[in-house]
Subunit: 212 residues, 2 copies
Protein backbone atom coordinates (compact mmCIF):
# COMPACT_ATOMS: atom_id res chain seq x y z
CA UNK A 1 0.00 0.00 0.00
CA UNK A 2 1.09 3.52 -0.66
CA UNK A 3 -0.71 5.73 1.86
CA UNK A 4 -1.83 9.17 0.84
CA UNK A 5 0.88 11.66 1.69
CA UNK A 6 0.41 14.08 4.51
CA UNK A 7 1.33 17.37 2.88
CA UNK A 8 1.97 19.05 6.19
CA UNK A 9 4.05 16.39 7.93
CA UNK A 10 6.67 18.81 9.33
CA UNK A 11 3.81 21.00 10.59
CA UNK A 12 2.16 18.06 12.33
CA UNK A 13 5.47 17.10 13.91
CA UNK A 14 5.87 20.62 15.30
CA UNK A 15 2.37 20.78 16.83
CA UNK A 16 3.35 18.94 20.07
CA UNK A 17 6.11 21.46 20.77
CA UNK A 18 3.68 24.34 20.12
CA UNK A 19 1.24 22.69 22.48
CA UNK A 20 3.92 22.45 25.12
CA UNK A 21 4.71 26.18 24.94
CA UNK A 22 1.05 27.18 24.82
CA UNK A 23 0.13 24.98 27.78
CA UNK A 24 2.97 26.56 29.76
CA UNK A 25 1.50 29.97 28.95
CA UNK A 26 -1.92 28.72 30.07
CA UNK A 27 -0.48 27.55 33.40
CA UNK A 28 0.96 31.03 33.85
CA UNK A 29 -2.52 32.47 33.35
CA UNK A 30 -2.05 33.95 29.87
CA UNK A 31 -5.20 34.44 27.81
CA UNK A 32 -3.37 35.20 24.58
CA UNK A 33 -0.01 34.21 23.17
CA UNK A 34 1.70 35.80 20.20
CA UNK A 35 3.21 33.82 17.34
CA UNK A 36 6.47 35.67 17.93
CA UNK A 37 6.67 34.47 21.54
CA UNK A 38 6.08 30.86 20.44
CA UNK A 39 8.65 31.29 17.65
CA UNK A 40 11.27 32.69 20.04
CA UNK A 41 10.69 29.90 22.52
CA UNK A 42 11.15 27.21 19.87
CA UNK A 43 13.77 28.98 17.76
CA UNK A 44 11.55 29.09 14.69
CA UNK A 45 10.56 31.90 12.35
CA UNK A 46 7.30 33.69 13.37
CA UNK A 47 5.94 33.26 9.84
CA UNK A 48 6.46 29.49 10.16
CA UNK A 49 4.56 29.40 13.45
CA UNK A 50 1.62 31.35 12.05
CA UNK A 51 1.54 29.15 8.94
CA UNK A 52 1.67 25.98 11.02
CA UNK A 53 -1.01 27.05 13.47
CA UNK A 54 -3.36 28.01 10.64
CA UNK A 55 -3.83 24.25 10.12
CA UNK A 56 -5.88 24.19 13.33
CA UNK A 57 -8.27 26.84 12.01
CA UNK A 58 -7.38 29.33 14.74
CA UNK A 59 -6.20 32.71 13.52
CA UNK A 60 -4.24 35.09 15.70
CA UNK A 61 -5.31 38.70 16.19
CA UNK A 62 -2.80 41.41 15.25
CA UNK A 63 -0.94 42.72 18.32
CA UNK A 64 -2.82 40.33 20.65
CA UNK A 65 -1.98 36.89 19.35
CA UNK A 66 -3.77 33.57 19.62
CA UNK A 67 -6.44 32.85 22.24
CA UNK A 68 -4.64 30.31 24.46
CA UNK A 69 -7.53 28.06 25.47
CA UNK A 70 -9.07 27.95 21.99
CA UNK A 71 -5.71 27.16 20.44
CA UNK A 72 -5.04 24.30 22.89
CA UNK A 73 -8.48 22.83 22.20
CA UNK A 74 -8.00 23.20 18.44
CA UNK A 75 -4.64 21.38 18.51
CA UNK A 76 -6.09 18.55 20.61
CA UNK A 77 -9.02 18.31 18.25
CA UNK A 78 -6.84 18.42 15.10
CA UNK A 79 -4.65 15.60 16.42
CA UNK A 80 -7.63 13.69 17.85
CA UNK A 81 -5.87 13.81 21.19
CA UNK A 82 -9.19 14.70 22.79
CA UNK A 83 -10.07 11.04 22.28
CA UNK A 84 -8.77 7.94 23.99
CA UNK A 85 -6.31 5.86 21.95
CA UNK A 86 -5.69 2.44 23.47
CA UNK A 87 -2.42 0.74 22.57
CA UNK A 88 -0.49 -2.37 23.40
CA UNK A 89 3.26 -2.53 23.35
CA UNK A 90 5.04 -5.51 21.81
CA UNK A 91 8.39 -6.36 23.39
CA UNK A 92 8.58 -5.57 27.11
CA UNK A 93 12.18 -4.33 27.24
CA UNK A 94 13.75 -1.08 28.35
CA UNK A 95 12.30 1.01 25.51
CA UNK A 96 8.81 -0.32 26.28
CA UNK A 97 9.31 0.54 29.94
CA UNK A 98 10.46 4.05 29.00
CA UNK A 99 7.44 4.60 26.74
CA UNK A 100 5.00 3.21 29.32
CA UNK A 101 6.40 5.63 31.86
CA UNK A 102 6.31 8.66 29.54
CA UNK A 103 3.85 10.97 31.31
CA UNK A 104 3.11 13.05 28.25
CA UNK A 105 1.40 10.21 26.37
CA UNK A 106 -1.36 9.80 28.94
CA UNK A 107 -2.11 13.52 28.80
CA UNK A 108 -2.24 13.25 24.99
CA UNK A 109 -4.86 10.51 24.99
CA UNK A 110 -2.54 7.52 24.50
CA UNK A 111 -3.15 4.71 26.99
CA UNK A 112 -0.74 1.80 26.81
CA UNK A 113 -2.94 -0.85 28.40
CA UNK A 114 -0.66 -3.91 28.28
CA UNK A 115 2.67 -5.25 27.06
CA UNK A 116 3.35 -8.52 25.30
CA UNK A 117 6.61 -10.44 25.28
CA UNK A 118 7.85 -13.78 24.00
CA UNK A 119 10.16 -14.17 27.00
CA UNK A 120 8.31 -16.17 29.64
CA UNK A 121 10.48 -14.68 32.39
CA UNK A 122 8.85 -11.31 31.67
CA UNK A 123 5.31 -12.65 31.40
CA UNK A 124 3.21 -12.07 34.51
CA UNK A 125 5.20 -9.02 35.58
CA UNK A 126 3.83 -5.51 35.63
CA UNK A 127 5.29 -2.35 34.14
CA UNK A 128 3.83 0.83 35.62
CA UNK A 129 0.87 -1.24 36.88
CA UNK A 130 0.20 -2.64 33.41
CA UNK A 131 0.39 -6.41 32.79
CA UNK A 132 2.97 -8.19 30.63
CA UNK A 133 1.24 -10.98 28.73
CA UNK A 134 2.65 -13.87 26.70
CA UNK A 135 3.03 -13.17 22.99
CA UNK A 136 1.01 -16.32 22.24
CA UNK A 137 -2.02 -14.86 24.02
CA UNK A 138 -2.09 -11.77 21.78
CA UNK A 139 -4.85 -13.03 19.49
CA UNK A 140 -7.12 -13.82 22.42
CA UNK A 141 -6.53 -10.61 24.33
CA UNK A 142 -6.39 -7.72 21.87
CA UNK A 143 -10.14 -7.45 21.39
CA UNK A 144 -10.90 -7.51 25.11
CA UNK A 145 -8.22 -4.86 25.64
CA UNK A 146 -9.84 -2.68 22.97
CA UNK A 147 -6.47 -1.73 21.51
CA UNK A 148 -6.21 -0.77 17.84
CA UNK A 149 -2.63 0.52 18.07
CA UNK A 150 0.47 -1.62 18.61
CA UNK A 151 3.79 -0.07 19.55
CA UNK A 152 6.59 -2.28 18.26
CA UNK A 153 9.78 -2.38 20.33
CA UNK A 154 10.92 -5.94 19.54
CA UNK A 155 14.36 -6.85 18.13
CA UNK A 156 14.61 -6.26 14.35
CA UNK A 157 14.84 -9.98 13.60
CA UNK A 158 11.28 -10.60 14.81
CA UNK A 159 9.71 -7.26 13.85
CA UNK A 160 7.95 -8.44 10.68
CA UNK A 161 6.56 -11.54 12.42
CA UNK A 162 5.33 -9.45 15.35
CA UNK A 163 3.66 -7.00 12.95
CA UNK A 164 1.85 -9.87 11.24
CA UNK A 165 0.69 -11.20 14.60
CA UNK A 166 -0.75 -7.88 15.77
CA UNK A 167 -2.47 -7.30 12.43
CA UNK A 168 -3.98 -10.79 12.56
CA UNK A 169 -5.21 -9.94 16.05
CA UNK A 170 -7.06 -6.85 14.79
CA UNK A 171 -4.59 -4.00 15.25
CA UNK A 172 -4.90 -1.37 12.51
CA UNK A 173 -2.04 1.00 13.39
CA UNK A 174 1.57 0.23 14.20
CA UNK A 175 4.02 2.64 15.77
CA UNK A 176 7.27 1.05 14.70
CA UNK A 177 10.36 1.69 16.84
CA UNK A 178 12.37 -1.04 15.08
CA UNK A 179 14.74 -0.51 12.16
CA UNK A 180 12.68 -2.71 9.90
CA UNK A 181 10.57 -1.39 7.06
CA UNK A 182 7.44 -3.45 7.68
CA UNK A 183 5.43 -5.01 4.89
CA UNK A 184 1.77 -4.60 5.81
CA UNK A 185 -1.52 -5.10 3.97
CA UNK A 186 -3.41 -2.18 2.50
CA UNK A 187 -5.33 -0.17 5.09
CA UNK A 188 -2.84 -0.73 7.91
CA UNK A 189 -1.08 2.38 9.20
CA UNK A 190 2.60 2.30 10.05
CA UNK A 191 4.45 5.19 11.63
CA UNK A 192 8.18 4.55 11.81
CA UNK A 193 10.18 6.19 14.54
CA UNK A 194 13.87 6.78 14.02
CA UNK A 195 15.88 8.02 16.98
CA UNK A 196 18.76 8.69 14.57
CA UNK A 197 16.87 11.71 13.18
CA UNK A 198 17.42 13.76 16.30
CA UNK A 199 21.02 12.57 16.45
CA UNK A 200 21.50 13.76 12.85
CA UNK A 201 20.30 17.25 13.76
CA UNK A 202 22.53 17.28 16.85
CA UNK A 203 25.50 16.21 14.72
CA UNK A 204 24.98 19.00 12.22
CA UNK A 205 24.62 21.55 15.02
CA UNK A 206 27.90 20.33 16.52
CA UNK A 207 29.59 20.56 13.13
CA UNK A 208 28.35 24.15 12.77
CA UNK A 209 29.48 25.05 16.27
CA UNK A 210 32.97 23.97 15.34
CA UNK A 211 32.75 26.26 12.32
CA UNK A 212 33.13 23.56 9.70
CA UNK B 1 21.65 32.21 23.06
CA UNK B 2 19.71 32.02 19.87
CA UNK B 3 21.50 29.50 17.65
CA UNK B 4 21.68 30.10 13.94
CA UNK B 5 18.76 28.36 12.26
CA UNK B 6 19.35 25.25 10.22
CA UNK B 7 17.45 26.06 7.05
CA UNK B 8 17.26 22.44 6.04
CA UNK B 9 16.17 20.87 9.31
CA UNK B 10 13.54 18.55 7.76
CA UNK B 11 16.14 17.48 5.19
CA UNK B 12 18.67 16.68 7.90
CA UNK B 13 16.04 14.69 9.80
CA UNK B 14 15.32 12.62 6.69
CA UNK B 15 18.98 11.79 5.97
CA UNK B 16 19.11 8.82 8.42
CA UNK B 17 16.16 7.15 6.70
CA UNK B 18 17.79 7.70 3.29
CA UNK B 19 20.97 6.21 4.66
CA UNK B 20 19.05 3.19 5.87
CA UNK B 21 17.56 2.52 2.43
CA UNK B 22 20.84 3.15 0.61
CA UNK B 23 22.80 0.87 2.96
CA UNK B 24 20.24 -1.87 2.35
CA UNK B 25 20.81 -1.44 -1.40
CA UNK B 26 24.56 -1.63 -0.79
CA UNK B 27 24.18 -4.90 1.13
CA UNK B 28 22.24 -6.25 -1.84
CA UNK B 29 25.18 -5.36 -4.08
CA UNK B 30 23.67 -2.37 -5.89
CA UNK B 31 26.11 0.12 -7.36
CA UNK B 32 23.48 2.75 -8.14
CA UNK B 33 20.13 3.64 -6.63
CA UNK B 34 17.52 5.90 -8.19
CA UNK B 35 15.80 8.71 -6.34
CA UNK B 36 12.47 7.18 -7.31
CA UNK B 37 13.34 3.88 -5.60
CA UNK B 38 14.33 5.73 -2.43
CA UNK B 39 11.16 7.84 -2.64
CA UNK B 40 8.94 4.78 -3.05
CA UNK B 41 10.58 3.00 -0.15
CA UNK B 42 10.06 5.97 2.16
CA UNK B 43 6.74 7.18 0.74
CA UNK B 44 8.15 10.54 -0.30
CA UNK B 45 8.02 12.46 -3.56
CA UNK B 46 11.03 11.79 -5.86
CA UNK B 47 11.61 15.53 -6.25
CA UNK B 48 11.90 15.81 -2.46
CA UNK B 49 14.48 13.03 -2.33
CA UNK B 50 16.60 14.59 -5.07
CA UNK B 51 16.39 18.00 -3.41
CA UNK B 52 17.33 16.55 -0.02
CA UNK B 53 20.25 14.50 -1.32
CA UNK B 54 21.67 17.52 -3.17
CA UNK B 55 22.72 18.80 0.28
CA UNK B 56 25.42 16.11 0.34
CA UNK B 57 26.90 17.36 -2.94
CA UNK B 58 26.21 14.10 -4.76
CA UNK B 59 24.17 14.43 -7.93
CA UNK B 60 22.31 11.51 -9.48
CA UNK B 61 22.76 10.58 -13.13
CA UNK B 62 19.65 10.50 -15.32
CA UNK B 63 18.30 6.94 -15.72
CA UNK B 64 21.08 5.49 -13.52
CA UNK B 65 20.65 7.20 -10.19
CA UNK B 66 23.04 7.90 -7.38
CA UNK B 67 26.33 6.03 -6.88
CA UNK B 68 25.59 4.03 -3.73
CA UNK B 69 29.01 4.01 -2.07
CA UNK B 70 29.72 7.67 -2.80
CA UNK B 71 26.32 8.68 -1.49
CA UNK B 72 26.77 6.72 1.75
CA UNK B 73 30.18 8.31 2.29
CA UNK B 74 28.79 11.77 1.52
CA UNK B 75 25.94 11.40 4.03
CA UNK B 76 28.33 10.18 6.73
CA UNK B 77 30.64 13.06 5.98
CA UNK B 78 27.82 15.65 5.90
CA UNK B 79 26.56 14.49 9.30
CA UNK B 80 30.09 14.03 10.68
CA UNK B 81 29.13 10.44 11.43
CA UNK B 82 32.51 9.37 10.06
CA UNK B 83 33.93 10.73 13.31
CA UNK B 84 33.66 9.41 16.84
CA UNK B 85 31.24 11.29 19.11
CA UNK B 86 31.64 10.35 22.77
CA UNK B 87 28.65 10.91 25.01
CA UNK B 88 27.58 10.32 28.57
CA UNK B 89 24.01 9.69 29.56
CA UNK B 90 22.53 11.38 32.61
CA UNK B 91 19.84 9.37 34.40
CA UNK B 92 20.36 5.61 34.22
CA UNK B 93 16.72 4.56 33.85
CA UNK B 94 14.85 2.58 31.23
CA UNK B 95 15.19 5.21 28.49
CA UNK B 96 18.95 5.38 29.09
CA UNK B 97 19.14 1.60 28.89
CA UNK B 98 17.18 1.62 25.64
CA UNK B 99 19.43 4.29 24.11
CA UNK B 100 22.61 2.53 25.27
CA UNK B 101 21.40 -0.65 23.61
CA UNK B 102 20.38 1.02 20.34
CA UNK B 103 22.70 -0.65 17.80
CA UNK B 104 22.32 2.10 15.18
CA UNK B 105 24.05 4.73 17.29
CA UNK B 106 27.35 2.86 17.43
CA UNK B 107 27.34 2.44 13.65
CA UNK B 108 26.64 6.20 13.33
CA UNK B 109 29.67 7.21 15.39
CA UNK B 110 27.91 7.80 18.71
CA UNK B 111 29.60 6.05 21.64
CA UNK B 112 27.79 6.32 24.97
CA UNK B 113 30.75 5.70 27.25
CA UNK B 114 29.13 5.93 30.70
CA UNK B 115 25.93 6.72 32.56
CA UNK B 116 25.50 8.90 35.64
CA UNK B 117 22.75 8.65 38.20
CA UNK B 118 21.90 10.27 41.53
CA UNK B 119 20.46 6.99 42.85
CA UNK B 120 23.20 5.19 44.75
CA UNK B 121 21.46 1.85 44.17
CA UNK B 122 22.23 2.22 40.46
CA UNK B 123 25.80 3.41 40.91
CA UNK B 124 28.40 0.71 40.32
CA UNK B 125 26.16 -1.29 37.98
CA UNK B 126 26.82 -1.73 34.29
CA UNK B 127 24.48 -1.13 31.37
CA UNK B 128 25.61 -2.87 28.18
CA UNK B 129 29.10 -3.15 29.69
CA UNK B 130 29.22 0.58 30.40
CA UNK B 131 29.61 1.85 33.99
CA UNK B 132 27.01 3.77 35.97
CA UNK B 133 28.76 6.45 38.01
CA UNK B 134 27.51 8.67 40.82
CA UNK B 135 26.16 12.05 39.70
CA UNK B 136 28.53 13.74 42.19
CA UNK B 137 31.54 12.32 40.36
CA UNK B 138 30.52 13.93 37.04
CA UNK B 139 32.89 16.90 37.32
CA UNK B 140 35.87 14.65 37.98
CA UNK B 141 35.13 12.11 35.29
CA UNK B 142 33.89 13.92 32.18
CA UNK B 143 37.30 15.05 31.01
CA UNK B 144 38.90 11.61 31.41
CA UNK B 145 35.95 10.09 29.53
CA UNK B 146 36.48 12.57 26.69
CA UNK B 147 32.74 13.15 26.34
CA UNK B 148 31.49 16.48 24.96
CA UNK B 149 27.88 15.33 24.55
CA UNK B 150 25.44 14.62 27.39
CA UNK B 151 22.19 12.78 26.76
CA UNK B 152 19.64 13.90 29.33
CA UNK B 153 17.07 11.32 30.45
CA UNK B 154 16.48 12.52 34.01
CA UNK B 155 13.06 13.41 35.48
CA UNK B 156 11.85 16.88 34.43
CA UNK B 157 12.16 18.26 37.96
CA UNK B 158 15.96 17.89 37.93
CA UNK B 159 16.60 18.49 34.22
CA UNK B 160 17.79 22.10 34.52
CA UNK B 161 20.10 21.26 37.44
CA UNK B 162 21.54 18.28 35.55
CA UNK B 163 22.12 20.46 32.48
CA UNK B 164 24.01 22.99 34.59
CA UNK B 165 26.13 20.21 36.10
CA UNK B 166 27.16 18.74 32.74
CA UNK B 167 27.93 22.18 31.32
CA UNK B 168 30.08 23.01 34.36
CA UNK B 169 31.87 19.70 33.75
CA UNK B 170 32.76 20.70 30.18
CA UNK B 171 29.97 19.25 28.06
CA UNK B 172 29.15 21.47 25.06
CA UNK B 173 26.17 19.64 23.54
CA UNK B 174 23.04 18.31 25.22
CA UNK B 175 20.59 15.87 23.66
CA UNK B 176 17.55 16.59 25.78
CA UNK B 177 14.97 13.82 26.16
CA UNK B 178 13.16 15.64 28.99
CA UNK B 179 10.13 17.90 28.60
CA UNK B 180 12.00 20.87 29.95
CA UNK B 181 13.14 23.77 27.81
CA UNK B 182 16.67 24.16 29.16
CA UNK B 183 18.25 27.52 29.83
CA UNK B 184 21.87 27.25 28.73
CA UNK B 185 24.70 29.75 28.21
CA UNK B 186 25.63 30.98 24.76
CA UNK B 187 27.65 28.47 22.75
CA UNK B 188 26.03 25.37 24.25
CA UNK B 189 24.04 23.23 21.83
CA UNK B 190 20.73 21.73 22.87
CA UNK B 191 18.77 19.30 20.72
CA UNK B 192 15.37 18.54 22.20
CA UNK B 193 13.77 15.22 21.46
CA UNK B 194 10.01 14.91 21.64
CA UNK B 195 8.51 11.44 21.33
CA UNK B 196 5.10 13.09 20.99
CA UNK B 197 6.02 14.24 17.46
CA UNK B 198 5.79 10.74 16.03
CA UNK B 199 2.62 10.13 18.01
CA UNK B 200 1.12 13.29 16.48
CA UNK B 201 1.80 11.99 12.96
CA UNK B 202 0.37 8.58 13.88
CA UNK B 203 -2.75 10.26 15.28
CA UNK B 204 -3.35 12.27 12.12
CA UNK B 205 -2.86 9.16 9.97
CA UNK B 206 -5.43 7.30 12.11
CA UNK B 207 -7.85 10.21 11.77
CA UNK B 208 -7.44 10.13 7.98
CA UNK B 209 -7.88 6.34 7.87
CA UNK B 210 -11.22 6.79 9.56
CA UNK B 211 -12.12 9.31 6.88
CA UNK B 212 -12.58 12.24 9.19
Amino acid sequence: MRPSKLASLPTIKRLPSYLHVIENAEREGAEFISGTVIADELELEPIQVRKDLAITGIVGKPRIGFPVQELIDAIYSFLHWDQDHKAVIIGAGSLATALMGYPEFTRRGLSIVAAFDADEKKVGREIYQKPVYAMESLGDRIEALGARIAILTVPSAVAQAAAEQVIAAGVTSIWNFTNVKLKVPSGIIVQKEDLSSGYAVLSVKIRKLHGE
